[in-house]
Amino acid sequence: MTIDVLYFAWLRERIGVPRERVDTAAATVRDLVAELSARSDWHAAALSDLSAVRVAVDQRLGDLDAPLPGAREVAFFPPMTGG
């Protein structure tokens, strides 16, 4: 399946792109992280400490165990700082 992967804030800066389209068979976000980390050293570094990373699947907050089949968009970002 094809998924759009989005990065925000320092994750976007460290990985170097705001979004990329990936062809994946990942069953969960955790599997997708493993695949993405193998793409480049920048990916691996940005995704190395997942306690500092939040995830949304199809624009809803999720976690590493969130299932991916059927998802179209996954976003990775730091803890939010609105308000």
Partner: protein, 143 residues
């Protein structure tokens, strides 16, 4: 109920004109960019689509939980100079307690559950990304 996500400054007086008509209490909160440590501006990144959806979801939760008659959330993104308003919430209810509590509730949720990320801009240029505060996350436990 109204949710606005925009880069432009907002006109609070115009937005509040007629807001809460018929209610007994209207509470508004406006957040300003503090000029801490010589900061000249904040730059806010957001997640187009999800940001609007999350603000709408939280505003609706406040409407339901506090039996509000109306709610308004305005949040800017992009570059915002020190001293300028960055966001505003307004709540309308039959009585003041619900309006105050709902505004407090909305602010706590927006701080750590709305997809915005702040970066500080000093006179020398961009500084780092603002780190999330543990106290902001802990504030959600109040609700």
């Amino acid at each position: 109920m109204r949710v606005l996500v925009q880069p432009e400054p907002f006109d609070a007086a115009a937005l509040l004109d007629g807001f809460g008509a018929g209610a007994g209490a209207v509470v508004t909160f406006t957040g300003l960019v503090r000029a801490d440590d010589g900061l000249v501006a904040l730059e806010l990144e957001h997640y187009p689509g999800m940001t609007e959806a999350a603000l709408t979801q939280h505003a609706q939760a406040a409407m339901d939980r506090f039996a509000l008659t109306d709610a308004l959330v305005v949040h800017r993104h992009g570059r915002i100079a020190a001293g300028e308003p960055i966001m505003m919430v307004a709540t309308a209810a039959p009585h003041r307690r619900a309006a105050f509590d709902a505004a407090d509730f909305l602010m706590d949720w927006l701080k750590s559950r709305a997809p915005f990320w702040k970066r500080e801009i000093g006179p020398e240029g961009p500084r780092g990304w603002v780190a999330a505060k543990a106290e902001d996350e802990a504030a959600l436990d109040r609700w």
